[in-house]
Symmetry: C2
Subunit: 233 residues, 2 copies
Amino acid sequence: MTTTALKARKEFGKTLASDIAHRLRNEIVTCQLKPNESLKFDALRLSFGASFTTLREALTLLAAEGLVVAEEQRGYKVAPVTLEDLHDLTHARILIEVDLMRRSIEKGDDDWEIRVISSLHRLARIEERAPEDYASNTEWKAAHRQFHEALVSASGSPTLLAVRNSLFDRAERYRNLSAMFRPHPRDKAGEHRALMQAAIGRNADQACNLIASHIQTTSNNVAKYASGVISAG
Amino acid sequence: MTTTALKARKEFGKTLASDIAHRLRNEIVTCQLKPNESLKFDALRLSFGASFTTLREALTLLAAEGLVVAEEQRGYKVAPVTLEDLHDLTHARILIEVDLMRRSIEKGDDDWEIRVISSLHRLARIEERAPEDYASNTEWKAAHRQFHEALVSASGSPTLLAVRNSLFDRAERYRNLSAMFRPHPRDKAGEHRALMQAAIGRNADQACNLIASHIQTTSNNVAKYASGVISAG
DNA sequence: ATGATACATATTTTCGAAAATATGTAAAAT
DNA sequence: ATTTTACATATTTTCGAAAATATGTATCAT
């Protein structure tokens, strides 16, 4: 009932465009906006309450991240999901995440160890509280993201970290898609704990192997359970 | 004198925004727009003849590529050049280019071999014609880019290729900067020929070593000759 | 019936003005 | 002299209308 209602529109960024990009990104990753769905300006204007220009800027940003594709003069649409894209994405993620992991383990200081341990702890607590299908839990997803982010956070490579974040979003969309059709979520708790132990124990080779197979296994499961809704590619 | 004058404005893309992004990218990479230079809308509007909105879209695109940085509510500026950034960039380029090279050699077909051989041939011809300081030659730069692009063009990884292209632009800016202060360009002809031979000969290990040291050596030279104009980082 | 052409509609793209925000300057207070 | 406040200016950000482009429909010729 106060003036916060107006300001509340800008939750995540200082500018309206970056805020809308954030909201759009979320809707695409969670598949509220479905793959291949065309993003018409009139419709977007209605649901996001912003002008053509502002929306256009947000879409440009998401196109650069690979969540949206732009067909010039023919508008924007949510990026399609294909098996080919999933494989491409998985390969890129493993390459980059393994490199970042190794360097993080080399360079990580006390604060890094604390970030890794505490983010895993938070993740475990959430899993305790909601043992059944935590994978569709928003809180779990945020904690999961933060744990993986913490692992590579000491790598000191802004360029690769930025790419990594973008790929993580694209992968999360596939995970969400798969979760819709999967009877039970795979139990990753053990894998996460092993990752933490290898990282903190400065066992770089083991940590890199673990993260690579963690990503690969997740991807294989996505391909298995979501193959029905994923285009042939 | 015909109506082409109007259409000529759009040389590179179908939309004006993508065309302006292309032109801006070129001016930044060639350092006509200097590192750290602030990109005021009024000034840009004058030199590019487009409206706020269109320019904003182009800048958003270049910010995603890392050639421009956006400070919210305080406009855009050309991305700074620092030794730290150069190192970060070099590391990322080696990681990605080596991976793409190996996969290109695995998968490359006859057409790939032809692309590699013919693009090297063109590069060599240009070097013959203009032996002195071809590095500042626009034609040479385009051919150089195409040769390196050809080498990795069979990798079949759209995601990593897109990142690679973006990193190549950022690196080229550093090369151009260094060229301004370097007495003679390093002779890369031998390295390029060796790269081609290793790739076509399907000697993946050797080709990967060559491309890694090619990138690293270039980066070291940039650091050496351009250190005066690069911020400490 | 089929394909081509012209027209009407839908949609994207671009523009310049208006609003919001930051920056700079001068007067007032301590 | 230094900080604070108020005001004026410069700059970015956002908007909705107008232009450009694509898509769909009906008409005509073959």
